[in-house]
Amino acid sequence: MSFVVASDLTRTFDLSDPWIVRALTLRPKRILKAVDAVNFQIERGSTYALVGESGSGKSTIANMVVGLLQPSSGSITIDGRNLADASLSRREQQAQRRRIQMVFQSPYASLNPRWKVGDILGEPIRAFGLIDGAKAQQTRIAELLEQVGLSASDAGKYPHEFSGGQRQRISIARALSSQPEVIICDEPTSALDVSVQAQVLNLLKALQKDFGLTYLFITHDLAVVSTMANRIGVLNQGVLVEEQDTADLFSKPQQDYTKMLLSAAPKIEFS
């Protein structure tokens, strides 16, 4: 059953000059179509990867899927429900929000530097009303930290006391704290070193298995994609040019753009 469905997802940005300037210089409006009628479906419990270079629209799609940005047209539904539906009550909106969370690219900007780790993890729990009582919340926070390979005592520390890889783990723990069903991973390891990347990717895989999570994985790195994703969508300047299961994409790429990406990826192999 398709759990996450994107239908004709489109997003445009108005980059025009202010109207006064346009009126005086008679220039036309400039509209950027960042995402152009993209369609994809993600099965429950699987990982779908969106691959593309900068300007391909992959981050814009991620923001729309998670609800940070409204689509200009088209829709995103999760389990049949659309977060952008204006008729939803505040309660229904929160319930929908809880089901889908995000892990961001920058380990440095994704955690509030003035908040303790315990508070960062506790905030979603309180916002969604998942657990009552400070004691029970502390227990849950400790549990989350351990699930991502950190220790319960880390709850009292500040983000700057941790390395990049550890901060990404905290980010993942925060995403998990709302007990979501879908997690969007927006370039979660692009800013990390190779050995740390391996740890974080392994963690994500293990969590998916343990909790039956569905991932939308955004990246520009084909090597990462090959180890993480069941199915891959290739984006070029807002258009989904090719979509295949992982094995097929690597062995039988159909589009020139895909072939170009595959050949340009730096590989460690010697003839």
């Binding site: 961001f104 900007a109 916002a127």
Partner: protein, 302 residues
């Protein structure tokens, strides 16, 4: 938590800078003197019953020719002990200065947060207001607000409310610096992913602004507050000197300077000199400390 502070790089830098330590010491000394003025001052110069007109115009440390009393810094025309007057005057100056800065800070930070986070026409409105206000010297703005407020008040209240109106006028003239800086920092923080994460759990604007963004934009605010304090103290002194500030019955250092000026050329130099020196020392120390703070905190902010 205090232990963390004393171990921090900031405190380390502080102990390495003689300038910082001396200026903070002077400020602390003055604040304490002002707070405990009741206990330190030999007399209460504003209790009419304790005054003896015959004590007037006594030079410092000299025995008065009529009463034989000695005063550390001399007396003014009405026989008030200048040392006590300065201590009480410090109290008024510091009180007005700090309250005005407090007002400017709260107003400026709030407006800056809103302008930076909400953006759009609200941002434009607030920033244009700031621009308009910046075209006038803050003293003029303070005088304007002072004049309007006084005009609105019934005559009986004017004297009583003088201090409050003074605080209001100086505070309202200094918010722009805070607002502009906070707006800039807010616009930077707004783009960071932790704000996006907060939106993902359904927090509303105010919750995000106050709980998440505010703690991260307060850094430069402390520096601006210190420097604005020096400005506020001088502004208050100026207004009082011009006669539109603290009244004679509750004088600040500025008022004392105005009184002293009348007598400078008739030879009673001490009535002007000592309040002026005190004001100088206070404003200078606050300024120097603020400058040091700004330089020290700056690279760490990045």
């Amino acid at each position: 938590m205090m232990r963390r502070f004393f171990q921090s790089d900031f405190f380390y830098a502080f102990t390495r800078s003689p300038l910082a330590m001396v200026s903070l010491f002077v400020v602390a000394l003055m604040v304490l003197s002002a707070v405990f003025a009741n206990f330190i001052a030999p007399t209460n110069p504003f209790d009419p019953a304790s005054l003896n007109l015959m004590n007037g115009f006594t030079p410092p440390m000299e025995a008065n020719m009529f009463t034989g009393e000695k005063f550390l810094l001399g007396t003014d025309d009405q026989g008030r002990d200048l040392f006590s007057a300065i201590l009480y005057g410090l109290r008024v100056s510091l009180f007005v200065g700090m309250m005005a800065v407090g007002l400017a800070m709260v107003l400026g930070v709030l407006l800056g947060l809103i302008a930076g986070y909400v953006g759009g026409w609200l941002d434009t409105l607030i920033m244009r207001l700031a621009d308009i206000q910046m075209t006038f010297p803050s003293i003029l703005i303070a005088m304007l607000i002072f004049g309007v407020a006084r005009g609105l008040l019934p005559p009986e209240l004017r004297e009583e409310m003088a201090i409050t109106v003074l605080i209001l006028s100086i505070g309202l003239s200094e918010w722009v610096n805070f607002a502009r800086t906070v707006r800039g920092s807010t616009m930077v923080e707004k783009e960071k992913e932790y704000v996006a994460a907060a939106r993902l759990i359904g927090l509303n604007r105010w919750q995000i602004m106050l709980r998440h963004i505010l703690p991260n934009v307060l850094g430069p605010v402390l520096v601006i507050a210190t420097i604005t304090l020096a400005l506020a103290i001088i502004a208050e002194a100026t207004l009082s000197f011009l006669g539109v500030g603290a009244p004679r019955t509750e004088p600040s250092l500025g008022t004392l300077i105005r009184i002293g000026q009348d007598f400078l050329f008739s030879g009673e130099w001490w009535i002007l000199l000592f309040p002026a020196l005190t004001l100088l020392a206070l404003a200078l120390s606050v300024n120097l400390f603020g400058d040091w703070l700004r330089d020290t905190l700056n690279p760490r902010l990045r």
